[in-house]
Amino acid sequence: MSPLLFMAQRLTAFVLALAVSAHLATILYAVRGGLSAGEILARTHGNVAFMLFYGVFVVAVAIHAPIGLRSIIREWTPWRGRTLDLALVLFSLFLLALGFRAVYAVYA
């Protein structure tokens, strides 16, 4: 694996450890008074901080997950080479598309 991919995965793991903790803490805090999903989203609309937070979250996932998945596929299947790399680039773009769609829903 390229050392840059290796380091990208480590750094995004660090970002995700913080982001997942903040996400869970926020959800737990928000629902303890009985807020519904719709009521939560009504509060996040137009909030740039939420948009930035989840935007960073999505980018970190789109970098982190395909690199890890590539290692798992290499270890557990005979799939190698450029087709594997291309498939994981597409998977990364898929995660980005899904993630930004959700970020848009949180913000707009």
Binding site: M1, S2, P3, L4, L5, F6, S71, R74, W76
Partner: protein, 245 residues
């Protein structure tokens, strides 16, 4: 201190027979005081079945050629006493080293293992022009101390047999080859580090290590290839960013 075995103790020894396909054959042989696993295999071969294949040379923990899997753990059989591995029982199971093709019985093919040393550029690269004088390498210098223990590897293959990543990915270079590369990365006389760090940063290189530390756990010389690999990861990252080594 090991208690002497009773004179009438009999060991039940299961030994792998065949190559990739094969089965375990059971032998019964006397248990003796201070007997090593290598003594046991030798006695079975000489007294019971001369077709049993295994490999050894020095018998005293220098060459590393007698490595086998003993009761599930890869070990040097010449440095393993029977009394250490049977606990309170009388059974021993002997298998060839894992992650190697089996030639026959307890003998494995080590070509791929040493080819990976070459793939990791685990050989000294003097550069295009020979050095004009002897290199002075102070024993207390940081780079020399970094590899004090790692240069003691004798290539027995125990770490390679214990490595989960090799089991999953047959192309993974493995702890021994990467450990050798690490010793050269820290060799101030060597001129091949740019190519070496590229070689160990392929998909099957040091970054594939999961840090399970099985190599370090099982190394008969108590070396720590895991730390060599961690050092390579750092060196490869610095090299990819700034071309430093």
């Amino acid at each position: 201190m090991t208690a002497a075995a009773a004179p009438d103790s009999v060991l039940e020894v299961e030994i792998w027979r065949g190559a990739e396909d094969g089965s375990f054959q059971e032998f019964r042989t006397p248990q003796r005081e201070h007997q090593t696993v290598l003594d046991l295999v030798t006695e079975i071969q000489r007294e019971q079945d001369p077709t049993l294949s295994y490999r050894f040379a020095c018998r005293v923990g220098i060459c590393g050629s007698c490595a086998m899997v003993v009761n599930g753990r890869p070990r040097w059989t010449c440095r393993t006493r029977v009394s250490e591995v049977i606990g309170g029982g009388h059974r021993i199971k002997l298998e060839p080293l894992r992650n190697f093709p089996v030639v026959k019985d307890l003998t494995v093919e080590m070509t791929q293992f040493f080819d990976k040393w070459k793939n990791a550029r685990g050989y000294f690269e003097p550069g295009k022009t020979p050095a004009e004088d002897f290199a002075i390498v102070p024993p207390a210098s940081k780079k020399r101390r970094e590899i004090d223990e790692h240069i003691e590897c004798i290539g027995c293959g125990v770490c390679y047999s214990a490595c989960d990543v090799v089991a999953w990915d047959k192309d993974y270079l493995g702890p021994a080859a990467l450990n050798r590369a690490w010793t050269l990365v820290n060799d101030v006389r060597d001129k091949g580090n740019a190519e070496r760090l590229d070689a160990i940063s392929q998909s099957e290189g040091c970054q594939a290590c999961h840090t399970h530390m099985s190599c370090t756990e099982f190394c008969p010389k108590s070396l720590a290839p895991t730390y060599s690999i961690a050092g390579l990861k750092r060196a490869a990252f610095r090299h990819s960013l700034w071309g430093k080594r």
